[in-house]
Symmetry: C2
DNA sequence: AAGAGACTCTTTACCAGTAAAACACCTGTT
DNA sequence: AACAGGTGTTTTACTGGTAAAGAGTCTCTT
């Protein structure tokens, strides 16, 4: 839910007592008003959106401590995990954001000495961006902390269920990514 | 994600060939760079965030056709599904957004004749907001369309799996909501 | 070799959101 | 009755995002 957005997608009133999350409460409300509608999709999509909002909010805490926004960390992370230089265009694709946003972030991260850029020798339109040592150290320092935090957040769900959840989400995501590439409205 | 938002949370490079989504590809990259880290949480959290971004983008299409943003629809929806007047503060809680954002949206929606406000007779600080007939008709017109669209988006996943997914997400969400209320960092 | 069109990146103008301050009002205490 | 402190809402100042236009460069065709 633009994240930063905000949560969203039809949320909760009834504080969803024990054994019910807020989405369940919202769905109940809708069904009371429109008993004829199939509210099935809400139970999945509403929950995904709400989980995403809460998880992002939780995840941002350790990042802020390091003075980074999530968007900045995503950009640095893309450079770190690919292991080689990327152009601004590559970074836009990797981080699913607009080119203009990448331009802005690069400016700030360059000023902070976390990334460096050099021009392409052949094609003077393109730039190549890479992590500085400080940038790499920062990412490597944050990542374990971040993963530990994520682990803690998920600790309420047992291991087997985590596996099932990852698998089901993977299947859904595969479909969604295929579909959107196909239907490209 | 914002997400809005923007998608986010460590996304994909390798175009995740057949049988792998982009998150799987990203996780593979991280493991190659940091073989020692437990990347398990990424496979859930990364997928939830990415699914959420894609779903929200998809869901916004039918809304835009009706001239509404998701945030505006959420606000109208909260009024519709509760069935009674709400104060701006209530609306902020229902839609998980700040009071200031609600103030702005209400201004626009009032100008468009979709909601009305009246002052409380006892406590002159508070306002009561309700849908106009036009507002109610708009929501009721959009909702079935929206649900049908969501249904179509999920159609790639079979019914049994949808049930499992909803249940697992419900469990996770319940935990997250409980936890955040408890840990309130 | 020259121009049309495509491509990469940046700039501009704008918009929606937030946090914090401001405002208006209520309530309990003295 | 008056004030201190709390609550509900709005205003202000700012941030970070996008879309669209702009600037610079390449490539293909003739």
């Amino acid at each position: 839910m633009s994240a930063t957005d905000g949560g969203s997608a039809t949320e909760g009133d009834a504080r969803g007592g024990p054994g019910g999350d807020t989405v369940a409460a919202v769905v109940r409300q809708w069904r009371a008003v429109h008993p004829d509608l199939d509210t099935g999709p809400m139970e999945i999509i509403g929950r995904i959106n709400r989980c995403s909002a809460l998880l992002q909010q939780a995840e941002d805490a350790p990042l802020r401590r390091a003075g980074l926004s999530r968007a900045e960390f995503d950009l640095l992370g893309a450079l770190r995990r690919t292991g080689h230089e990327l152009t601004p265009g590559d970074l836009a694709r990797e981080t699913f954001s607009s080119g203009a946003a990448v331009t802005k972030r690069l400016k700030q991260l360059t000023e902070r000495g976390l990334v460096e850029r050099r021009g392409d020798t052949r094609d003077r339109r393109v730039a190549h961006v890479r992590l500085t040592d400080a940038g790499r150290d920062l990412v490597d320092g944050i990542l374990p902390e971040q993963l530990a935090y994520e682990s803690a957040v998920l600790s309420g769900v047992d291991g087997t269920e985590q596996g099932e959840l990852a698998a089901l989400l993977g299947a859904l995501l595969g479909r969604l990514e295929g579909r959107l590439e196909a239907l490209r409205v």
